[in-house]
């Protein structure tokens, strides 16, 4: 997350990148740029508290699921998305939000890098976001998904307002680079999935100690 003061908007702008999330009840803007990835904005109107994440499903291209399966079965395709959503939800709950007050806005999932304008990854990302929110009983009150153009999202967490700007002349080289870097990061993280500690023999399996929300 990168934060700076925007003199035009006269507030702080917190920019999040793929795999990150941010939440606040302050008068600031959470910004992100989306290509294939999706971002979900959650807002608790009773507490004036909201947050935004930015994610893509792990393993989707390598582990194609059958048509009859969803993201919440054993195929692990939805696991990274579930985790991104849970980190955001837990962060909001720790700051005083109530899950039953949440409403959601969903953005992204454009086929920006697909030559034929169709991207299975983008479609899966969108489908996952809506399926997850349906399962968690969080109503989606607005969305802007699909298409072929990337989007810049500005989300005001204290009011729940969101603004979307389509990027009509995207720099595909930069988007490709960012997406590939994110994929590499996901692959590295997958090796650390499920770090396990058994207390009785204080044996630790897996690697690394990742931070949490």
């Amino acid at each position: 997350m990168h934060s700076h003061y925007d003199s035009r908007r006269q507030c702080r702008v917190a920019t999040i990148y793929p795999g990150e999330f941010y939440s606040s009840n302050e008068d600031l803007v959470i910004a992100t740029v989306l290509g294939t990835c999706v971002a979900v904005a959650l807002y608790d109107d009773q507490h004036g508290l909201g947050g935004l994440n930015h994610f893509m499903l792990a393993k989707t291209p390598q582990y194609k699921r059958a048509e009859s399966e969803d993201f919440f079965t054993g195929h692990e395709s939805g696991r990274y998305g579930i985790n991104s959503m849970e980190l955001l939800i837990n962060d909001l709950l720790k700051k005083g939000a109530c899950k039953r007050n949440f409403t959601a806005k969903v953005f992204g999932g454009s086929a920006v890098l697909a030559k034929d304008g169709v991207s299975k990854i983008a479609e899966d990302n969108i489908e996952f976001a809506f399926d997850f929110l349906r399962l968690e009983d969080i109503p989606v009150i607005a969305s802007d998904v699909g298409g072929v153009l990337p989007r810049k999202i500005l989300f005001y967490p204290a009011t729940g307002k969101a603004y979307v700007k389509k990027i009509v002349r995207p720099d595909r080289e930069i988007i490709t680079k960012i997406t590939e870097e994110y994929y590499r990061k996901i692959k590295l993280e997958e090796n650390r999935w499920g770090k396990t500690v058994l207390f009785d023999d204080t044996k630790e399996e897996g690697e690394g100690d990742r931070g949490s929300s």
């Binding site: 919440f72 054993g74 939805g78 696991r79 990274y80 579930i82 959503m85 396990t196 399996e205 931070g211």
Partner: protein, 122 residues
């Protein structure tokens, strides 16, 4: 007879995901949506061979639930795995003090989860 596992998590998506994997591997599954519901289901379910619980949940969190589980004579030694996004050592220490058997950080891999379950319930 199949072993019974109680899954306690406020996220329907996670309960569905974990439940699917366990059922596919021959376990009976009972689901609960928070710590209090977990204690209620534990009383109703009869024999439970393992409890898998999240930490951050409404009504009653996972660590508090583990403390209450350990107060019950019949569950003093029932294995409890904490499955959570939390990975800070201070929270893990709290889980250990409460009586948890082990700690698995999300996102989890099916393989590692099943291997750990086998290890703790034999």
């Amino acid at each position: 007879m199949a072993e019974t596992i109680l899954i306690v998590d406020d996220s329907s998506a996670i309960r569905q995901s974990v439940s699917f994997i366990l059922k596919e591997n021959g376990y009976e599954v009972v689901e609960a949506c928070d710590g209090q519901d977990g204690l209620d289901k534990l009383s109703q379910a009869g024999a439970v061979n393992l409890i898998i619980t999240d930490v951050n949940m409404p009504n009653m969190d996972g660590i508090t639930m583990v403390k209450h589980v350990r107060e019950k004579d019949e569950h003093k030694f029932t294995p409890v795995l904490v499955l959570t996004t939390e990975s800070q050592s201070s929270i893990m220490e709290e889980g250990k003090k409460a009586g948890a058997t082990g700690w698995i950080v999300k996102p989890f891999s099916n393989e590692k989860l099943l291997a750990t379950i086998k290890k703790v319930i034999g």
